[in-house]
Symmetry: C2
Subunit: 158 residues, 2 copies
DNA sequence: CATAAATTTGACCATAATGCTCAAATTCTA
DNA sequence: TAGAATTTGAGCATTATGGTCAAATTTATG
């Protein structure tokens, strides 16, 4: 498992904001010398915290091993408030309103099941949430990817 | 809606592979002059096909408006074959094995419900898939994000 | 089909960024 | 506290960038 210090984090956050940011700007952001930023960046890329393609950061490498999909049943009148509350939780990575019964689908991540339980309790305390169902993602067989669709787009849709 | 030609696609695919690729390399990949690659990149960034600077692609902007989550019930013995078959489908963006009954969770994207139906039929034809349940994502309230978790990581876990 | 509009190209240039080395200073670890 | 690892600043050669421009090419439109 990879551990990050303040400098790594600042570099990662800057890269998320703008993946094409210059190394010299990274150095400024992180408050270190350009040389340092450059070697940190190299190390992050080698350590595979920074994934090749697909989505930005590999959170598994950082110790966030538990991934869960949570479906919430929500009182329609309070939907906006529920969404707002969910967004405040850093462990909530994604929120969609889904068909069915005005349900809400949430992607949750946690370091372990204990932390997950804690987050789930937090969610259930939100006013307007009437029920929840949690599904654990045991193993990822395909990480988010868009390349094949784009290649397909090239050959067909046009 | 944004339309892409061959050059745009090659640039996007190269950026997905390596978001920090140089403009001159992009030009080579796409087989155009550096000047052209540079202006195409600018245009892609302006058009917001490229989200937040370069890493992620906004498929909605390209006309992929239908997002669905599909849960499959799978014959355990044929799980590997099912996964392999699913991966062949470009519209399948993500696959996770989930708890429950050895189920498989799939993120699907399509241009319209008609195309979605076609993909769903394709999935149901896969040997080993015994049942499926589709949930439509009507509206995204929070697109995949990791920054808040990283910031939280900075303040706590260390 | 002809013309206007848009895009691409290659060339050029000044500036900035990069990758590299190195020795000294600093911080971390055992 | 000694040794290891990291950071720093400086310098240097090479490459990338962003910009302009006129000519060539492609695309759109009447």
């Amino acid at each position: 498992m990879v551990r990050l210090d303040e400098v790594d984090l600042r570099i990662l956050l800057a890269l998320i904001r703008d993946p094409r940011i210059q190394v010299s700007e990274l150095a400024d952001e992180a408050g270190v010398a350009r040389n340092t930023a450059q070697s940190r960046l190299r190390r992050l890329q080698r350590s595979e915290v920074l994934r090749e393609g697909g989505r930005d950061i590999d959170l598994g490498v950082l110790g966030y091993d538990v991934l869960a999909f949570v479906t919430l049943e929500v009182n329609h009148r309070e939907l906006d408030a529920v969404i707002t509350a969910l967004r405040q939780i850093p462990n909530v990575l994604e929120i969609h309103e889904t068909s069915g019964r005005g349900d809400v689908w949430v992607r949750l991540i946690a370091t372990d099941t204990h932390q997950l339980q804690s987050v789930l309790r937090q969610i259930l305390r939100i006013k307007g949430v009437t029920r929840s169902e949690t599904t654990f993602a045991l193993h990822s067989h395909l990480a988010y990817r868009t390349a094949p669709l784009l290649e397909h787009y090239a050959e067909h849709d046009h």
